[in-house]
Amino acid sequence: MPLSESQLEEEIKGKLAGVPVSFNVGKSGLEAHVGREHLIELCKLLHDEPSLCFDYLRCISTVDWIEDGQIEVVYHLYSMAHGHCIIIKVRIPREEPKLPTVSGIWAAANWLEREAYDLMGVVFDGHPDLRRILLPQDWEGHPLRKDYSYDPVEFDEWYAAKVRRGEIP
C-alpha cells in the first residue's frame, strides 16, 4: 500500500538529517520545497532510501516567475515500487539560474534538463552534455522566459547581423 501524503512527509522528515525542507499538499500531491544547495542531498535520499525509492522521474518543468525575479524548477517523482508521488520545487534567482544536475540519479533528467536549458535558460551544473536540444545551436535567448522578445526577424536580417558581428565568416 502506498503511503498517504502525511505518512510520506513523516517518513522523509525522519530520514532527513538537518536538511531544510518545507512540505505542503498541493493539487497533485505532496510538494517539497528545498533550496538549490540541498537539492542533490534530498534527491539522493529519495532515490536511494528503500522505504521511499523514488526511482522514476516523470517530468522536469520550469516556471519563470518574473515578478519575483525567480525561476521555479519542478520535479515530479514517482516510486515504481511503492506507488507514491512527490513533487520537488526549487526556486532559483533569474539572474543566476544555476542548479546542480540530477542526471546522475535519473537518466531521464539528461534530456529534460537539456530542454529546460534550451527553452528557459536554466544552467545545470555538472550536466554531461548541456547543449540546446530543440532549437538550433546558434539560437539567441531562451524563448519560454516571460521577457523573451518574439518579434519576427527576417532570416536575411538575422544572418546579416551575425555576419556583421563576425560570428559567421
Partner: protein
C-alpha cells in the same frame, strides 16, 4: 464494480539499486575499418518525419548515435501562454497528430483539475471510448509503419483499412479526420450521433478479426521475429531510469501504465489487463502494442455497454465565456498511445495559462536511443528505432 486504489506495482524491484552508468560504446569486431559518420535523415524513409540521426559507424556497426531533433519545433508551450484556456485545446491536436483525442483529453483534464470541476459522467465515458479507439488507431499506424520498415508492404494496407474505419467514426463525431478538437474543457463537444453505438457494436467483431489477420501476417511472422527479437534490449532498470513509459516500459517487463497507476476517468471501473513482456527487445515492443489493441477493444466493449444503458443527456459543463482558474498549479498525466503524456499547468488567476509544460512520451522515450543504439548493426538500427514509435510532432512539440 471495484475501485483500485492508487497502488504501486509491488515491491519486486530489483532495478532500483542499479544506477545508470554511461558506458563506453562496445568496440566493433576485430577487423576494423575506418569510422564513418553517416547522417540518417532528416529525410530518410525510415525516420518517420524529420528526425536526424548522426551515426558513427564502423563498417556495419554503429559506434555512436546521436539524435538531432527540433526540426518540427513549433513552440506549443509558448503559444499556449498567449491563448485563453479553451484555445489551448486545439493546439493539443497538433502535438501528437496520430492521437489527437488523447492530447485533447490530457489538456482538458489538466484545466479541469485547475478549475476543480466535475465533468458529467456520460462525457467521461465518451472520453474513455474515444481515447481507446484512438489508441487502437495509433497502434495500427505503428504496426503498419513498422511492417514497412521491415520491408513488408501488405500489412500496411490491412492496418490502414481498420484505422480508416475508426477515423470514420471520429469523423461522425466531430467532422474531422486527424485533428479532432472533440474533447473540450468541461466535457465533449457534442453527444454521440444517433446510431453511433450500434454501428460501433457491428464494427467490434470486424476489428477483432482484423487483429487476428495482422497478427498472422506480421506479428508472428517468423522472419519478423527473427529480425526483431534480441535486438535493442532495454533492461528494466534502464527503462525506469530513463523514464520510459507506455509500451516501451511495459515491453521491459514493468507494468507501469498511467491508467492503472494514476487512474483517471473510469479506467478503474472497467475490466482490463496491463500487457507486459519480459523480453525487453524490439519484438516485445511490437507484441505489447498488438496485445494492447485487444485490451483497448475490451474496454471499448464495456464502455459501449455502459453508454447504451445511459440515457442521452448533459455532456458538457457550462463554463461561461472565459475561464479563470484560481492561482495554482497541477500535473495531470494520461496514458497516451505512446506513454505518459503529462501536462504541468500553472495559473496566475488570469484568463490565460501562465505556463504549460508538456511531457511528451516520445521525447523521453527517444532519449534512450544514444544508450541502446551503440553496438548494433545498421540494419538493426531501423528495427530498433522503429519500435520506439516516435511521432516527431510530439518529440519536438
Amino acid at each position: 464494480m471495484k475501485r483500485n486504489s492508487d497502488s504501486g506495482i509491488g515491491s519486486n524491484y530489483p532495478w532500483h539499486k542499479q544506477r545508470p552508468v554511461i558506458e563506453e560504446p562496445r568496440p566493433g569486431e576485430a577487423l576494423r575499418a575506418d569510422r564513418l559518420i553517416v547522417n540518417m535523415g532528416p529525410q530518410h524513409p525510415s525516420t518517420h518525419g524529420v528526425l536526424r540521426m548522426i551515426l558513427t559507424v564502423d563498417g556495419e556497426w554503429v559506434v555512436a548515435a546521436e539524435p538531432d531533433i527540433g526540426y518540427l519545433h513549433r513552440g506549443f508551450e509558448k503559444l499556449a501562454e498567449m491563448r485563453d484556456y479553451d484555445g489551448t485545446i486545439f493546439l493539443s491536436d497538433r502535438w501528437d497528430y496520430l492521437a489527437s483525442m488523447s492530447n485533447n483529453i490530457a489538456m482538458s483534464l489538466a484545466i479541469e483539475r485547475l478549475l476543480d470541476i466535475q465533468v458529467p459522467e456520460r462525457a467521461q465515458w465518451i472520453r474513455m471510448l474515444v481515447a481507446e479507439l484512438q489508441r487502437i488507431a495509433s497502434h495500427l499506424v505503428f504496426i503498419a509503419a513498422y511492417g514497412l520498415d521491415m520491408g513488408a508492404m501488405t500489412p500496411f494496407f490491412y492496418c490502414f483499412r481498420e484505422r480508416e474505419r475508426i477515423v470514420g467514426f471520429f469523423e461522425a463525431l466531430c467532422g474531422a479526420r486527424l485533428t479532432y478538437h472533440y474533447v473540450r474543457v468541461g466535457g465533449v463537444a457534442a453527444d454521440l450521433p444517433d446510431g453511433f453505438l450500434e454501428e460501433l457494436e457491428k464494427f467490434i467483431p470486424m476489428l477483432q478479426s482484423g487483429f487476428d489477420e495482422i497478427d498472422e501476417l506480421l506479428i508472428y511472422n517468423p522472419i519478423l521475429i527473427e529480425r526483431t527479437s534480441g535486438i535493442g534490449i532495454i533492461p528494466p532498470h534502464l527503462a525506469v531510469s530513463y523514464g520510459l513509459s507506455g509500451p516501451m516500459i511495459r515491453a521491459s517487463g514493468i507494468p507501469y501504465d498511467v491508467r492503472k497507476c494514476h487512474p483517471y476517468l473510469f479506467y478503474d471501473a472497467v475490466d482490463w489487463d496491463v500487457i507486459t513482456h519480459e523480453a525487453c527487445d524490439s519484438w516485445a515492443r511490437v507484441w505489447v502494442r498488438s496485445q494492447e489493441m485487444r485490451q483497448s477493444l475490451r474496454i471499448v466493449k464495456q464502455v459501449v455497454e455502459r453508454l447504451k444503458e445511459m440515457p442521452a443527456g448533459e455532456v458538457r459543463v457550462k463554463l461561461g465565456r472565459s475561464i479563470r482558474p484560481q492561482k495554482g498549479d497541477c500535473y495531470v498525466a494520461i496514458e497516451s498511445p505512446r506513454g505518459e503524456l503529462g501536462i504541468y499547468i500553472v495559473s496566475d488567476g488570469s484568463g490565460k495559462p501562465y505556463r504549460v509544460k508538456i511531457r511528451g512520451p516520445s521525447f523521453v522515450n527517444l532519449s534512450i536511443a544514444p544508450r541502446v543504439l551503440p553496438g548494433v548493426k545498421i540494419a538493426d538500427l531501423v528495427a530498433i528505432l522503429g519500435s520506439f514509435d516516435l511521432v516527431m510532432g510530439e518529440v519536438d512539440r
